[in-house]
């Protein structure tokens, strides 16, 4: 282990920028691709579960209690424990990773979708109904477009949390950027541990900035539902 923090960061710089570290099956490029693959698939599954749930709760106004409690349950659930538990129950497969990541992402998606739906002006919904729109037309042509900015915020927050937590895949022997963190911890190679941590943090921060920028470009000009950043359920 290097003697000084200065030397540590110098080695870290070398680790992050050397060409050989980026290529091959254990290279950063491959680990990054794995990491993004886990994260995107898990967020997609969570969206398939969470979006209809949030829309339903928001549209009918029923089950708000469930939505709020789901969020605080999601906050309280220890992800590490969940991964290990599903791992012990299902054996060596990708299941534990996806179950844990989806469980993390669903509350963020449901609560923000629900929040977006309830923020739609009731007068607008009344007007739509007064014009003779059916319930499903009100939902898909009025409420959904108006709630879209907050729904997108929920998806973004979910994705960031999932990217941060996908590190855990390496704990149960899979790939992704977490590989460096856990291998480094096992080998007492602090440079590798820090390298992995820095990469995960960078991916999360860059993705968050890029997506919020995209969101602003898409919605700001004609949006009345501006959120102050939505409600993250918790960091990962």
């Amino acid at each position: 282990m290097p003697d000084t923090v200065y030397e540590l960061f110098k080695n870290l710089g070398v680790w992050l920028t050397s060409g050989e570290q980026w290529s091959g099956a254990d290279g950063i490029a491959h680990r990054l691709a794995e990491h993004l693959q886990y994260s995107l698939l898990a967020t997609l599954i969570a969206a398939v579960i969470g979006l209809p749930l949030g829309l339903l709760i928001g549209h009918t106004g029923r089950g708000a209690f469930v939505a709020i409690n789901l969020a605080s349950f999601g906050r309280a659930l220890p992800t590490v424990g969940l991964v290990v538990l599903v791992f012990l129950a299902s054996g060596l497969s990708m299941w534990p990773v996806y179950v844990a990541l989806v469980a993390l992402a669903v509350p963020a998606i449901v609560t923000n979708t629900y929040a977006g739906m309830t923020a739609v002006d009731p007068d607008v919904k009344d007007a739509a109904r007064g014009q003779g729109m059916r319930a499903h037309q009100v939902l898909f042509q009025v409420e959904l477009p108006l709630a879209l900015p907050l729904i997108m915020t929920g998806l973004r927050l979910a994705l960031i949390q999932v990217v941060a937590t996908a590190t855990i895949a390496a704990y149960v022997s899979f790939g992704g950027l977490g590989r460096y963190v856990f291998d480094g911890l096992a080998q007492r190679d602090l440079v590798q541990v820090l390298g992995g941590a820095v990469l995960v943090a960078l991916v999360a921060v860059v993705l968050d900035l890029a997506l919020s920028g995209l969101q602003r470009a898409l919605f700001l000009p004609h949006s009345r539902l501006r959120s102050s950043g939505g409600t993250p359920t918790r960091p990962a």
Partner: protein, 214 residues
């Protein structure tokens, strides 16, 4: 997957010790977070240009994965409880700072003007008028930060701490689900109880928010 109840019976002392250590880490973080975010929130509330900077900075910190924060702190504070608490504190800041600023924003301007007109000095207005009125929003932040911290302590198991999180590593290494289940259930229980106590505390601290004439 079955629960080995005899293991739980044999390890009640360990489970209690770990729960206490777990709670201690989480509560220290929330306390430190409050200590840091209260003055920062007052600054962010009073000085507009700093507000965006402080809130933006805390949002960026929030996106950094917890395992990364703990690991990045290793060169500074090593494999210690300090690392756990600093890491958790950084996360509580996001929630506490935002909620405290929003709480201060929610105090009606007329109330502050009335305090000023009565000759109350700024610091006294802050302590006896603004902060009490901001309390419901601040307490909402404290509740979120507490539940969040209790859940996150277990991540510190990778750096050798982690309270109940140690049960996860233990169960994983021995391929034995009982400690893992016990750890998950106890974490949820701690979060639930802490949250309920904070609701009760808020009820006691803010008598004026209760329905009048009841």
């Amino acid at each position: 997957m079955t629960i080995d109840w005899s293991w739980i019976g044999d390890h009640t002392d360990d489970l209690t010790t770990l729960s206490v250590s777990h709670l201690q880490a989480a509560l220290s973080a929330v306390f430190l977070g409050l200590l840091i975010s209260l003055p920062l929130a007052v600054i962010a509330h009073r000085i507009r240009p700093l507000r965006g900077f402080l809130l933006g900075l805390s949002n960026v910190l929030f996106t950094i994965p917890s395992i990364a924060i703990f690991v990045l702190l290793l060169p500074v504070s090593g494999l210690t409880r300090t690392t756990t608490v600093i890491g958790l504190t950084i996360y509580t800041l996001v929630v506490l700072l935002r909620n405290t600023v929003e709480g201060l924003d929610s105090v009606p301007a007329k109330t502050k003007e009335a305090a000023k007109a009565m000759g109350t000095r700024p610091l006294r207005t802050l302590l006896t008028v603004e902060l009490p009125l901001a309390l419901p929003v601040i307490m909402a932040g404290v509740r979120i930060a507490t539940v969040m911290s209790i859940s996150l302590v277990s991540v510190a198991t990778y750096i050798g701490d982690g309270g109940l999180g140690q049960l996860f590593t233990d169960g994983f290494q021995r391929n034995f689900p009982t400690p893992v289940i016990a750890g998950v259930v106890l974490t949820l229980l701690l979060a639930l109880v802490a949250d309920a106590l904070l609701v009760a505390l808020q009820y006691v601290l803010t008598p004026w928010t209760r329905k009048r004439g009841a």
